[in-house]
Symmetry: C2
Subunit: 407 residues, 2 copies
Amino acid sequence: MYRRTFLAGALAAPGFLRAASERRYTWAEVEKMLSRGDVKGKLGRDDLPTPALLLDLDAFEHNVNKMAAHAKSHNRALRPHAKTHKCPEVAKALIRAGAVGACTAKLNEAEVFADHDIRGLLITTAVVGPYKIERAVRLAKKNRDTIFSVDNSQNVRDLNAAAAEAKLTLNLAIDLFITGRTGVLPGTPALNLAQLIESLPNVTLAGIQAYAGQASHVTGFEARRRKSEEVMAAAVDTRRVIERAGISCPLLTGGSTGTYNIDTQIEGITELQPGSFVFMDIDYRKIGGQNGEVYDDFKNALTVLTTVVSKPTDDLAIVDGGFKAFATDRSFGPEPKNGNGIVYAWGGDEHGRVNVAKASRGVNLGDRIEFLVPHCDPNVNLYDRMYCLRGEQVEAVWQIAARGMSQ
Amino acid sequence: MYRRTFLAGALAAPGFLRAASERRYTWAEVEKMLSRGDVKGKLGRDDLPTPALLLDLDAFEHNVNKMAAHAKSHNRALRPHAKTHKCPEVAKALIRAGAVGACTAKLNEAEVFADHDIRGLLITTAVVGPYKIERAVRLAKKNRDTIFSVDNSQNVRDLNAAAAEAKLTLNLAIDLFITGRTGVLPGTPALNLAQLIESLPNVTLAGIQAYAGQASHVTGFEARRRKSEEVMAAAVDTRRVIERAGISCPLLTGGSTGTYNIDTQIEGITELQPGSFVFMDIDYRKIGGQNGEVYDDFKNALTVLTTVVSKPTDDLAIVDGGFKAFATDRSFGPEPKNGNGIVYAWGGDEHGRVNVAKASRGVNLGDRIEFLVPHCDPNVNLYDRMYCLRGEQVEAVWQIAARGMSQ
């Protein structure tokens, strides 16, 4: 019936012909397949409701394997940051490739990954306050190898007291203030914290957490290398100071997608915790690579698929993705995946204004347009699921189980 | 308390003791209460895990009642836009106060509200493509009074064909292009669409959808009034043109929180569809009111509660809310609800960097800081629930059931 209807209207709106002829199911059938994840060999890109978060599996697997091989060949552990993807299936793919576990930014993110049987969790933000400390102990009871970041002596005492009550030992990483964000100052203040940990019975020092956020996005490879070497030197020195004091400090974890091939040249960094490389985004492409102006060590695996829902004028197409479909924390917006001469501009919470004056082909109502995302982490955090594509076919639906888990 | 610890130096572990003594429940108990919404008379603000979205019920009820009274006293219908709150409990409170229903931006938002027994739904974005048309018909079968926006003749024919097959009639609103976004051009193009609707058996013209986004945020009341009068005139004229052609056009819905008291002065606008007034945000406060530089017709009801999770230096406190806790689509960030001389700066995805050099009181690890949000709609869309407070007590937990529903 649709085909007939749409053929009737074909002259008026050719854009519809394709949608109609490609429609193999009723929505009720598609809805069932999507909720069950029963999609392989059944659904294609054009069956998906938009705006939709898409993962290109070929690009994703390339990214995972490349980073895993890099860490392995440099004898560094890899504990990718899960705040980027918030998705247990992604964490499992990384662990299958050789990762030792996953970092999470927040405690309840870690709780979700633990519920999905991910081991080797490192929480990079301190757990502060009695309720969170109670939750940390509950998590450690379940996953003994969990590592908690600390940067405050009172917090260390509180953790030790709670661990003692529960009759277990908590693994702590000293969070270093090298990025202008969280952490204790390098050198003596960090050593004092290490000595306090050493002096308490129910906490043990796993090592140092040192994320150099200031270095990760420096534009230009050489400038980025200088910055990372400068800030990570403080972490490496602090680790030495602690070990010279007779306290074992096995772990020094840090690094980012922007510095993964810089930090593996720095002696004393034992572990990398990059996040964005699994997906990539416009933001990271801008920082420049070792061999050119575009950072393309990793492939664009993440996109948002939109639909043209209005065509008010010849040059203007309105798509169904705005502030709620794309990350808005950067100074730039989405870019079309395949160029096509179109330009996206924000159209508010729900829409994008797409200038199609220079489009390489006609853009009609109902057409699908796929965009690269400005910044992957907050972009993924807007969606409950990602659709995993192999070419044009939907191979899987992965739940973003820790979406919104910022507590 | 932490402060006293710092001053007193390394005494016992008063931080933990203090927290423990203040703690009336275990986290397991709190978790159960929160998930059941069984909180009234039991939980207070400090029991909530942060970052947390808070709703001040006194301010919210003031906002709801003021807007409802304004619409009633001017004999206009009120159909507030649910894209702001995405919360059935908020929609129900508005309907109890006199609203005729709720607008939604997208189809699946409307599906969620229908599932929660909200009637009088108007979807302000066209439903395009066979799957969405099938869903629109399914929704109309359930809620006959649902109104769908259209701006394209082929889309109208497709809706009519699908409605005919389902043996029902769809209510359509002509979406007018007066905001530079979606819609058909006013005047003759809109009349042609009205005549097409009139000519088809299974669609009927409910009226005109005319959201003047360009007017809603004009700074300065007089400038805003001129802009709204200018753009809404095209909608009023178009409604006249359609009725002069002998086609009934009962509805002209538009307006915003910025223009609610302007558009009720314009003859021919039958209904208001403001959204932000229920919560308010920093963005709207900046546009200026009828009586001053701050737009304060409605109270700040929405905040995000954060916790200081790191205090690396005397002047710097790091809170646990960043790009994933606050809307980032504006040029400005969060502001402390109670001033206190502190200044928030973005600290990435997960954190905020709070300058406390001029804080009116000491800010210590574990302290709670509450912030006004930059832009309420995308801010709410980051959270699964809002905690409703009456003073310091948590009175209810409302699910943001349509969060992420942008499809």
